[in-house]
């Protein structure tokens, strides 16, 4: 019996007759939660979000309530800005696109509530440049919402003003990193900022306190206001609350986007029951659970997972890959991460060296070039994995590859360093035979090493 989806954010998406215009949204109780929020006090909404236990859906899984809480309304004298991170560009992830293209007002409502709660009067949606149509859809939705006075001056007669503008990126993955995004929005190259301060809540856009939240996170805000933080916290599991949009791609029969309570189903149930199994009746070889930056998991792998029991004591269980529940904490305990919810599945016919070369090429292209270990290292990882996959590897390539990856992670300004090193480290560690086989079977380089430099 397959586990039923719990559609909160995707409730109306793809339903027959559901359209993107505001009239349809209003017929489905749209902007009701904004009206409710406007009767509450901002700090009370922030408290509800804290109670809900909501964790950011962009990749890091950081507590949204805590992120908001960094802005102290009693001490802060500067304007506060909010930016919706709609730069969705983590390979394997396509959930935010569904919201933007099919239910734009849900995002605007969630955003308006978040802005009101944090006393924000100017907000931006940073949308990736390739979503040309998405930007137009949001633009139109903003105009509709303004015409109905859900945005703009004196919203619903409460005296609260809010302007939301669309800002299009231009094809750079690094803009998903929140401080890079802010630099980009300031009209500069998207070089992530040096930390500390760790959070834009301290110094963000135009050196003012800034909140950056993912599209899915902001949609959740609407539902938290609707049902209350405590009720929301009952969905999912403790510390892993709410629902999660999962995007499945690669070698499964039914790839697509799904919404489940966090941790309600295991990797095995997702692949076999929800997605109809591996394509063509083949066997699973490997899986990336949270976007291409997440560490790869190997079929047949077993993990020792520590978890808290109901009585507060810790217990350790050994479970197989297929029994891992898809929640933040268990995936982290298994050495990977829930990340952005993008699950990429590879079947037994896939060459892991080729797959890693593909991922390494992505990161080499997208490194912003600011920090030397990442700029140089990502290119070397691309070069080495590519020559391995082409049968032109050198005998010590596997060790070299690992050493390059090990010297990037932790030595860069932003988490891109980890994002490009983790796939390499995990692929090489878990599929060592394949990589070493490639290096061994390769012919020695035609020219002496010195000349090839």
């Amino acid at each position: 019996m397959p586990i039923a989806e719990r559609r909160l954010i995707f409730k109306n998406i793809d339903q027959p007759g559901y359209t993107i215009d505001i009239d349809c949204y209003l017929r489905h109780d749209g902007y009701k939660d904004l009206k409710k929020a406007l009767t509450m006090k901002g700090p009370d909404i922030v408290a509800e979000v804290k109670t809900s236990g909501l964790r950011g859906r962009g990749g890091a899984g950081f507590s949204t309530g805590m992120k908001w809480g960094f802005i102290d309304p009693t001490k802060n004298t500067k304007p506060v800005y909010l930016i919706c991170n709609a730069d969705e560009s983590e390979p394997g992830t396509f959930k935010d696109k569904q919201i933007i293209y099919k239910d734009p007002h849900q995002l605007l409502e969630g955003m308006a509530i978040a802005c009101y709660a944090n006393n924000v009067h100017l907000a931006y949606i940073y949308i990736r440049g390739e979503f040309t149509l998405g930007a137009k859809i949001l633009e139109k939705a903003i105009q509709e919402a303004k015409a109905k006075n859900f945005l703009g001056k004196n919203i619903a007669g409460t005296g609260y003003d809010l302007e939301i503008y669309i800002h299009r990126g231009a094809g750079a993955y690094i803009c998903g990193e929140e401080t890079g995004l802010i630099e980009s929005l300031e009209g500069k190259r998207a070089y992530p900022r040096i930390k500390p301060p760790y959070f834009p809540a301290v110094l963000g856009l135009y050196m003012c306190p800034t909140i950056v939240n993912n599209v899915e996170t902001l949609c959740n805000i609407k539902h938290i206001v609707a049902m209350g933080g405590a009720a929301y916290a009952k969905i999912g599991k403790p510390n892993n609350t709410g629902t999660r949009l999962l995007c499945v791609s690669g070698d499964v029969e039914k790839p697509g986007y799904y919404e489940f309570e966090v941790g309600a189903l295991t990797i095995g149930e997702l692949i076999n029951d929800v997605c109809g199994g591996i394509k063509g009746g083949r066997k699973l070889k490997a899986l990336i659970p949270g976007g291409s930056s997440a560490k790869v998991l190997k079929a047949g792998e077993r993990f020792k997972i520590k978890s808290k029991k109901a009585d507060g004591t810790m217990e350790e269980k050994e479970i197989g890959l297929m029994d891992i529940p898809l929640d933040f904490d268990t995936l982290a305990a298994a050495g990977s991460m829930a990340g952005s919810g993008g699950v990429i599945v590879m079947d037994e016919t896939r060459d892991m060296v080729e797959c890693l070369a593909n991922i390494a090429t992505f990161y080499a292209h997208e490194s912003c070039g600011q920090c030397t270990p990442c700029r140089e290292g990502s290119l070397w990882m691309k070069k080495i994995t590519t020559r391995l996959s082409e049968g032109k590897g050198q005998p010590d390539d596997v060790g070299l590859l690992k050493s390059v990856a090990d010297n990037i992670a932790g030595r860069t300004i932003c988490a891109f360093g980890e994002a490009c090193a983790w796939p390499v480290q995990s692929f090489v560690a878990k599929f060592k035979d394949e990589f070493e086989g490639q290096a061994r079977t390769a012919k020695p380089p035609a020219a002496p090493k010195l000349e090839s430099v």
Partner: protein
Amino acid sequence: MSTQRVVDPSTQTVSPAKVYPGAVDPHHAAAVLPPNFEAQVDEVITHYPVSKRSASLPLLHLWQETFGYVSPEGIEWIAAKLGLQPINILELVTFYPMFRQHPAGKIQIRVCRTLSCALGGAYELCAHFHERCNTAEPDAHGLAISPDGKYSVEFVECLASCGTAPVIMINDDFYEDVSKQRANELLLKYK
């Protein structure tokens, strides 16, 4: 530098001879701005009440949508409009992959090459497009243009439609689950 501003307000053109040092633009003569261009630019700038510089990316998009690529004149014009140095705009054009310094094909085909699409056959599909469009050798950025300038084909990184791989963009339009046969049909559509 500010004395070297070369935008002529009466004609809204920039003299190609006077653009920033080292810039050579062999593609066309001075750009003539469409009548509503500056009004659109001014409207976009109002979106950024705190800092005009924030309008750099939107203005580059607008310029590229109008002229097909960002010429040295465009860089100069945008910089002057926002009170910046041309280098502040040029460094964006060279950083953000979507901006071009040279014209691409009239019909621009972008094929996603990242993992899920690669698993779904993106490499074969891209090779198919190259063959059907008769493209020349790709340039340093991987952009290959057909000799008649009609088509350009290039790989791009993840387009966020991984569940329906392989995906492509033709100009601003998204297409999912693109087989070779579908590719042929699409090429007919964009004649």
